[in-house]
């Protein structure tokens, strides 16, 4: 029997501190769905997803009910469509996105990820068509998420791809301008993308992954913040120890849910992604954890150090709690999805430059950042290139998900609603990067020795 204290602690975490399982993501390989006839390939894709994932949502809801732990999202990730569609005789992959969208709606998942291409060293025919189809595909579908990997530590950065992605982000914002430029929230540009990420918009099932797999992403910034409130003024060893213990408990939940879902769906368990993923509701913010450590407002001097400690302690605590760690694992710092980040931007303490510095020590990158609508495509490309360079040199995953707010300027706000929150429009540099991006080609992979 558990002590009353333990029972109440768990229930408080769920009820008062917003502990939840952020996502159960089923990865489904579509390798066997390729067909020279695109219509047939799309039918195979639809059939396979709806067959494999037909009980996913129900199982998630059952677990939520029986265990009393909220499971916020049920999602599907698939093999990058650029690989699956490559053998089909067509020069446009929008219909593949529509097939994914239809399947996602049929099984009732929140999002489906994998309208993706990996082009860090160059484009195949399929990659080219996929990337050209992204703007239209994300405009005509609701549930489909897209990602493109444009760089890696081993390959360098494909600057042709970086150039094109800047244009696509801009184009997508225009196409969805009547819908708060929402298309851009469904597109991530990666460096060192991981193959087992359960989080959107960047989830896809990598080529090294099994036929079907269950990956789980946990959350719980509120729980970490509450734990730190109890050690006010203590030294950093105590802070790190507190975060580790809390991350351990959170991750154990994720492990249990992942095992249970895997058993009920009869699908192997893949990984638990140990992430602190914020939501816009108060008490679920990563920025507030950093502020709890003693910073007046997130983004001030000391923020990068605080985030480095947090990110590392979350991993150290979580690793011991699950049999298999993967995905992005660490603290997420999306701006529009984090009440504390939004306040920090509005207060003038958090800038794009500081966020870039923070991405050197946290789990992903520049995420859910709203920029002025008149930002040029080449500036967006340059933002992507900077972020990719950080990932490439530091052997880590970095990503860019920026939203140009068409028709709006710095200081205004873009509302998405729901988990995506709202974003104050942030300042970008007014100076041009046009000639830099115009060069094209590839930035060579960095040296792996002589580290300074």
């Amino acid at each position: 029997m558990f002590s009353d204290f333990e029972v109440i602690e768990t229930l408080n975490m769920i009820e008062k501190e917003n502990l939840d399982i952020r996502t159960i993501t089923m990865g489904i390989s579509l390798n066997d769905c390729a067909d020279p006839d695109p219509k047939k390939a799309q039918q195979k894709i639809y059939d396979k997803i709806t067959r494999y994932a037909k009980d996913l949502v129900k199982t998630g809801n059952d677990i939520q009910r029986e265990f009393g732990i909220p499971i916020i999202n049920k999602r599907v990730s698939v093999t990058p469509i650029s690989l699956v569609a490559a053998s089909s005789d067509t020069d446009n992959y929008v219909d593949f996105a529509i097939a994914l969208d239809k399947a996602a709606k049929e099984i009732g998942v929140d999002f489906i990820g994998g309208f993706s291409a990996l082009v860090h060293k160059g484009f195949t025919k399929g990659d080219r068509i996929l990337v050209d189809s992204i703007s239209e595909a994300l405009t005509v579908t609701d549930k489909v998420c897209s990602s493109v990997n444009i760089g890696s530590t081993r390959a360098g950065i494909n600057m042709d791809a970086v150039k094109q992605m800047g244009q696509i982000v801009k184009d997508l914002a225009y196409r969805t301008k009547d819908n708060d430029c929402l298309g851009c929230a469904k597109l991530v540009v990666f460096c060192n993308a991981v193959e087992d990420n359960p989080f959107m918009a960047g989830a896809f099932l990598g080529t090294g992954e099994p036929e079907c797999v269950i990956n789980v992403g946990v959350s719980g910034p509120g729980v970490v913040k509450s734990a730190l409130e109890k050690v006010k003024g203590a030294d950093f060893e105590t802070v790190a120890e507190t975060v580790k213990k809390t991350a351990f408990k959170i991750t154990r939940m994720g492990q249990m849910v992942a095992k249970e879902a895997s058993k009920r769906l009869n699908v192997p368990f893949g990984i638990v992604d140990l992430s602190l993923a914020p939501t816009p509701i108060v008490g679920d913010s990563v920025a507030h954890i950093l502020e709890e450590m003693g910073l007046e407002s997130c983004g001030t001097h000391g923020t990068t150090a605080a985030l480095a400690l947090l990110n590392d302690a979350v991993k150290k605590g979580g690793v011991f709690a699950t049999s298999s760690v993967g995905g992005l694992s660490g603290a997420f710092i999306p701006v529009s999805e984090d009440a504390g980040m939004i306040d920090a931007v509005n207060a003038g303490s958090l800038s794009l430059e500081k966020l870039e510095a923070m991405t050197c020590v946290c789990s992903v990158g520049l995420d859910m950042i709203v920029i002025p609508g008149d930002t040029s495509a080449s500036t967006i490309s340059a933002i992507i290139a900077d972020e990719a360079a950080i990932g490439m040199v530091n052997h880590k995953t970095t990503a860019v998900r920026v939203i140009p707010a068409i028709g709006k300027k710095e200081g205004e706000v873009l509302e998405f609603g729901g988990l995506l929150g709202h974003g104050p429009i942030m300042k970008v540099s007014p100076f041009s990067s046009e000639k830099f991006i115009e060069r094209g080609g590839r930035i060579p992979a960095p040296l792996q020795s002589l580290k300074n």
Binding site: F2, I8, R252, E260
Partner: protein, 90 residues
Amino acid sequence: MKKAVITVIGKDRVGIIHGVSGILSEGGVNILDISQTIMQELFTMVMLVDVKHATISFEDLKAKLESKGEELGVKIVICHEDIFNSMHRI
């Protein structure tokens, strides 16, 4: 599912255990352990129950307990014991 934990939190009053155990015995749910304490000035009861031979579905049991909680002015939560096992036991 075999065992579940029922937690009752709220202002102490006459009839809480009676109300909860009535629902359990009607549903064929066996009580294995009960502990009661005052925590943060609130009455807190934690019950370990065996639902293996329950004649009522988990969903219905949960709904009945929740509505009984509303009637008594307390919060009643039931969840699978594994959530506590996973978090507090290695």
